[in-house]
Symmetry: C2
Subunit: 449 residues, 2 copies
Amino acid sequence: MEDIVSLCKRRGFVFQSSEIYGGFASCYDYGPLGVELKRNIKNAWWRSMVQERDDIVGIETSILMHPKVWEASGHVATFNDPLVDCKTCKGRFRADHLEHIPCPMKPSKMAGQAEPCDLTEARAFNLMFKTTVGPVEKEDESNIAYLRPETAQGMFVNFANVLTTARKKLPFGIAQMGTSFRNEITPGNFIFRTREFEQMELEFFCYPDTAAEWHEKWIDIRYQWYLDLGVRRENLSIRKHEWDELSHYARDPRGTGTVDLEYKFPFLDKPGELEGVANRVDHDLTQHAKHSGQKLTFFDPQTNEHVVPFVIEPAAGVGRNMLVFMIDAYHEEEVKPGDTRVVLKFHPQIAPIKVAVLPLLKKRDDIVNVCQQLTKDLKKKTAAVYDDTAAIGKLYRRQDEVGTPYCITVDVETVEKDNAVTVRDRDTMQQERVALDQVQNYVLDKLGV
Amino acid sequence: MEDIVSLCKRRGFVFQSSEIYGGFASCYDYGPLGVELKRNIKNAWWRSMVQERDDIVGIETSILMHPKVWEASGHVATFNDPLVDCKTCKGRFRADHLEHIPCPMKPSKMAGQAEPCDLTEARAFNLMFKTTVGPVEKEDESNIAYLRPETAQGMFVNFANVLTTARKKLPFGIAQMGTSFRNEITPGNFIFRTREFEQMELEFFCYPDTAAEWHEKWIDIRYQWYLDLGVRRENLSIRKHEWDELSHYARDPRGTGTVDLEYKFPFLDKPGELEGVANRVDHDLTQHAKHSGQKLTFFDPQTNEHVVPFVIEPAAGVGRNMLVFMIDAYHEEEVKPGDTRVVLKFHPQIAPIKVAVLPLLKKRDDIVNVCQQLTKDLKKKTAAVYDDTAAIGKLYRRQDEVGTPYCITVDVETVEKDNAVTVRDRDTMQQERVALDQVQNYVLDKLGV
């Protein structure tokens, strides 16, 4: 794991937020390669969830919403972590993660050790960030707003708007990608759990008697999505939540609870959540109908009845997704005795750079000119880069380390003899000679994207 | 303008945030068509600014940043609007927008009128939203955080990280798209000015003696981008900021100020800002170097000197961009006497739906089957929809109204005679007969995307 964190920083995938000021609050920034990887993951999700389907439409709702949204959803009352204080050192901890925490203010007689903290009773600490809106000095009921802790409620409060404008019938889904915030007491493990994070959520509305079946279907679809993008089957698993893990809406006896797709994260002692697929029953629509006084139902023209749909919700985090794609793609390979390469074996669809164009000799203008024209042409169609800042062996290793599927090398033969270039495959390291005027189509075909 | 707002709501481009609770705080949600339009605008920007260029890389930084970032940038001290209160009705107003505001508590003797408000002296009101981070009950210096009012500072504090990891030399740029927040006292005009908004910003770092030239270049590049995406030249203009409009960083005598690309918004009495192109000189890097103690310079290997680059910043808002593309594309055309159509003449690259597949008779299974197979195939390559919920004339009008460049109609002839379909052009309304097995390539070629 340290290797991956170090690679992320060294090659510009992930930086600590506000690093020059010592970092901040478990927030992270995505560098030049990280942002492309993230965009590719999000685009792959959007393509499979929205663009290629008939029954799902996308929306994007605001981060700041009416505070009544969070009263209705139950977040104001129940979105809490239990918190305890140490009466001596004033430290704060999550009561459910607690063992014997040493108190720095209570040194024991044994050197280098400390006695445990002297803890208060646990009390509820709400995880929503609060702010105030409008020209006001003091927080009061009329001006308070929360930073959304999930994108889901944006879909529920727009249920009627989407139903009408997109002319949808049950079953249909609303998908959204966007930033959410949770004031976690104990964030951590790099980008696994952060206070600011991006979600990819689908709310799939269906007839109540089909919800169990759709729950199964969505678990399968989402599991297959990770496999299709190259995540190794042996690192994935599926686990149903125990009763005491379930969110308030998932405890409904009419529902089928929550199922996690899990991944073998190297820093956890058992598989951890990669994506949750929850059956939220009719909890959210019913609550919003009650609190807003609006009708949030689907009118079934066949039975002439108003139906409150059940909702199946596959919900993933973009940062955690990215971490899984990085960990799963990471390989150290002994190329020959004593010579190891690091290679990220990304699926071409998510690789941040698809093809690198490299000159064998950067002092030869004719070679460099061919490279630059080729890069320019490739950039119109895919993510291509030119690099001449090292010798060819080192350039290949650099591209391996960031997961570039193909390198194209232009050499003396290209310009003096055969008008062909060398294409190198990241995974096999095999090289092939391809005519210069064919190489774009050759590589784009291989990429399949 | 009312026609556009109404179209936005009716067809699912833009909804009021939290509408079922009466809306909220001048925030907006983007519906199924709005989110696709927005994605297309953002992708067009990213493609032209990052993907197709050698000298710009992208990043995505967090919304919550270290509070020292905003002290260094000057936002804590100077990002204010002047605010006045009415002593009688307690209303709050921007002092610089003030005329005679009627006070509801001071009815005049004339029916339906009121006397002016009784105003306090103006005082500074900071436009940054505040929150607190971590398990704390009260706001104090150690836990305060701001929601970023611009994405720009995320690029400046990552200057050194990007310089190192992306191996860039001057001139080079860092681009970012992301959400920012400003607690405007008087937001308004639909999505023209909102408290939560998405930005597309480029910080272009260059040698100080080339900044004036780059400033000109970026004004040209950005102006051309709007033209290339179909915005009509007669609605665009360019205007240099007057001294009293300039931000603190743009008043530096070594710089060239700020230039706005303006658009003729129908609700303003003169052209309004579409995008600002500012010369921020070395203000931000210098301030962050001072406040963080870090070295934020470029080492020039030719002169052996450390250079603090100047920065040219083209900064646009996604929502405002979308509004311009909607307004500019909006046409009402008299098709024949007494018959008017509404058509959004979007450039194909930004049209939310590229092609609609329509059955002439939805009761014929053979026709519907052809339509659905064609839609499915098209969806793998572009944004395609199938619609059978009205007669063909009405279906065409619906697609015109949302700017779909091409409609493909499958009729009885298709399945019984010629195995061909009708392709209708949105702008000319001309129809052409194309072989079914050719129609995908035919339309994708015409779209050119």
